[in-house]
Symmetry: C2
Subunit: 209 residues, 2 copies
């Protein structure tokens, strides 16, 4: 029974990792559109979003299968429940990446990211945070999961810096529509990092309860 259970858990873990990799690639590709508005890449991000939804469904079924067939208790129960919650965050990260891609494709051609290096830096910090939260899950590492909430401050600070930069730029005759688009991209990145914090919280829940 335990052997079968461990197999089911390993399968669940692999699915979660695959979903997390979809997330990471989708964010990277969506942000690359700031430099180069490539229709094909934008389409890929949209495909990633759909695949993320499919993964959510598959993982949910796997969790319910484990609940029913294995009737897990204590930390096993918490771990499967945590997986069920984490996929909600990962599904929304997919949505956020698609939202970023859509906004990037609507930006005028001359708002390339070299005008806003902070946005790319914020994206890098966001991806790093997401990777750490997924790693903390894979390794069931409570110490690194505990650190994620503090590290999210870095991403939040980028949001404030970008916001302030845009306020200055609008005053000096920058197109306000583009400014609002860029602040929305920053907001989506901030939201992705909030999801990473949630994932880390589920890791802590599955270890400590």
């Amino acid at each position: 029974m335990r052997k079968k259970f461990d197999e089911e858990l390993r399968h669940l873990n692999n699915l979660l990792l695959e979903m997390a990799m979809l997330n990471e690639t989708a964010i990277k590709k969506s942000i690359s559109l700031l430099d180069d508005k490539d229709e094909a890449i934008a389409m890929e991000v949209s495909n990633y979003e759909e695949r993320t939804d499919v993964y959510e469904g598959i993982i949910q079924k796997q969790c319910l299968k484990i609940f029913v067939e294995q009737q897990p208790a204590a930390s096993d129960l918490r771990r499967v429940s945590a997986a069920l919650k984490m996929i909600t965050d990962m599904e929304r990260i997919g949505d956020n990446a698609r939202d970023i891609a859509e906004i990037c494709m609507m930006l005028p051609d001359d708002y390339a990211s070299n005008k806003f290096p902070l946005v790319k830096q914020m994206a890098e910090a966001t991806i790093a945070l997401l990777n750490k939260s997924i790693d903390s899950f894979v390794n069931m590492d409570i110490d690194s999961a505990n650190k994620i909430d503090d590290e999210d401050d870095v991403v939040d600070n980028y949001f404030v810096m970008i916001r302030d930069e845009l306020i200055d730029i609008i005053k000096s005759d920058f197109d306000p529509a583009a400014a609002i688009d860029i602040i929305m991209i920053a907001k989506y990145l901030e939201r992705i990092s909030d999801h990473a914090v949630n994932i880390a919280k589920w890791v802590i829940f599955s270890i400590k309860g």
Copy 2:
């Protein structure tokens, strides 16, 4: 066994309804701060957010208790799983209401809502959508749950209207910092309505699978 199970389910339903009522009140109070920056009300919204977190913990425990003690199958299993997912949305609605309150308290005194009637209209549409999604859960009404996704377009349209209004206003010398604050309030309302859509999707999942 079934009687005990029905009792546990009824208890779960009551908890979800209480949590939904916290959501509704928190949104109403947070938006009222647009008219009147009342410190005491802002504090209340923050308390509501904390109580929402407590409810999430209690409901989660209740769901895990049902999983373990009752080992539900088929539609019962889906219903409890749906509850476990819905509380994630409700917890975040609490966060969004608090975020709105925080932004309102930082707005300059003269940006009262009568300058932005669209924001209050958007808030009303958002609360209406949330109420419908919760009602569809209480009544297990798949027809009304199916309609929520379309009705969300109303809220999304408000966002676009507010965004366009603000772009015009910034061009005519409106304070860009306040404009960005107001667009963020609209974004949080849009997000709350997305959570309402998610809740309705969980209702559909728990009925149809």
